[in-house]
Subunit: 285 residues, 2 copies
């Protein structure tokens, strides 16, 4: 096994990408904020199926955090991440040396979507998707991948990236990979590290309410309001939970769907203690 390469400078990464492309290698890319868990590793495995070399980025992107959010405390573990990445056969880790390198003085160019961020998480995190679309654009220009893999767990993010790539003719194939869950159903997230034992039990209601919705819709329920009501009741029954939103929406536009007569996505965001968790599942009538 070739040993993993760690690149911290933007120009070096761009040159390596040019070399790889000149050699005819297909570059498969997984952007991450680090603190890798089984969810990220599954994205890396998916990437390996699509490329000759897998590049991952590790960068906690300040542009997607609002001032009151957890940018400062967001868990970081670069050395452990590199070890895990190497075990999974990652070829290159791009870990920018500093935020300043990515956002130099006078930085002012952003990629913004006008409609998709007006739904779900965008409502309580108004700068989030601008930050995501901007950093992904930058990372695509730095890593120059042929293929990029994103988790379906961040469903709205995946929708935004797909739309952005299509609108701006970004020459990268966007692949969505299934959510990886703990044995008890909790969707993997770096933020799960914040949860106390009690909060973790409360957090199980997110996936439980989604599975319950899958069952009732499969059994013939078509009224989205009733499905949302049942999920609200289940999640609210646990201590330390505060629902941000529960929505049943069109997978492409994210518009609310009142009558479930085609596959829809049910998405939710819940604060458990002070930790904001998200999850989603496809509901098929």
């Amino acid at each position: 096994m070739a040993s993993i390469e760690i690149i911290t400078r933007i120009e070096t990464m761009q040159q390596r990408a040019d070399e790889l492309r000149r050699d005819g290698k297909v570059i498969a890319f997984v952007p991450t904020m680090g603190y890798l868990h089984e969810g990220h590793l599954s994205l890396i495995r998916e990437a390996r199926r699509h490329g000759d070399i897998v590049v991952i980025s590790i960068f906690v992107n300040p542009a997607q955090f609002a001032p009151e959010e957890d940018f400062g405390e967001y868990p970081r573990a670069l050395e452990r991440d590199i070890e895990l990445a190497e075990k999974e056969g990652v070829g290159i880790v791009f870990a920018p040396q500093s935020d300043r390198q990515m956002y130099p003085e006078g930085f002012q160019s952003y990629v913004e979507l006008t409609a998709l961020p007006q739904h779900l998480c965008g409502l309580s995190r108004p700068i989030f998707f601008r930050g995501v679309a901007t950093v992904v654009t930058k990372l695509f220009n730095i890593v120059k991948p042929h293929v990029a893999v994103f988790g379906q767990k961040d469903f709205q993010q995946l929708t935004v990236i797909r739309r952005m790539a299509r609108d701006l003719n970004v020459p990268v194939e966007i692949i969505g990979a299934p959510t990886v869950r703990e044995p008890d159903g909790l969707a993997m997230s770096s933020r799960n590290a914040y949860l106390t034992d009690g909060q973790r039990t409360s957090a199980l209601t997110l996936s439980q309410s989604l599975r319950q919705a899958q069952r009732v819709v499969a059994d013939g329920e078509t009224d989205a309001a009733r499905v949302i009501e049942a999920a609200t009741a289940l999640i609210s029954s646990r201590p330390d939970t505060e629902i941000d939103y529960i929505a049943v929406c069109d997978p492409e536009t994210l518009d609310n769907v009142p009558v479930i007569d085609k596959p829809v996505v049910m998405a939710l965001a819940v604060k458990v203690g002070s930790t904001r968790l998200i999850d989603n599942m496809l509901l098929t009538p």
Copy 2:
């Protein structure tokens, strides 16, 4: 001489760009809105000095016109443009078949700068630079150039593109090429075609006032307000002129410079009849 290639589909252009890159060709790109004049031809000649093959795009970009502007009447002459391009040794003309192809249904992703458009033309054309930055991003992703050439005549546009390319790590070298002028000093522009003979005489005051400013600053004048006042007087002395702005500004930030103690750009926009013209020159103390 190899005959010129006309490409109307986005995917075809992307594939050709991939082929050219695989063959080790350096792609030099000149984006245009067509109706080519000597100014465009000078950009093409500059591009030939930097690349193995020159690609030009011809696309009147609806996203940079406000509803009350001249998108509908903007002069178009595709066949003549192709002839001129062929004579100048252009390898490929990318002329998208339809606006719909460039801006498909549901289009909603834009590249926006927060500060530079708050100056000069951005004040009277609030969506203009968003439209420019967005279409240039798209064209870069379609044509995949190594080098792109823009005219200094559209000085603020050049500044915006440079900043955007730097901020978003766009792997394209941006080159600014000098303004080409008619023998009487009028900066070349497709919009000059709108001018009556009388208006054309009035329009000469734009370059005259800039040259006058160059002289007085070279002779020791440092007060920007006095320089602007003299230009205002000269332009206003002619019939059919309405000044939008005359500014003396920092070439990188476009902030107003009150005391001229380093090279600055003097930029102006004037409506002559119903035709909005712009021009600019560097003033060196």
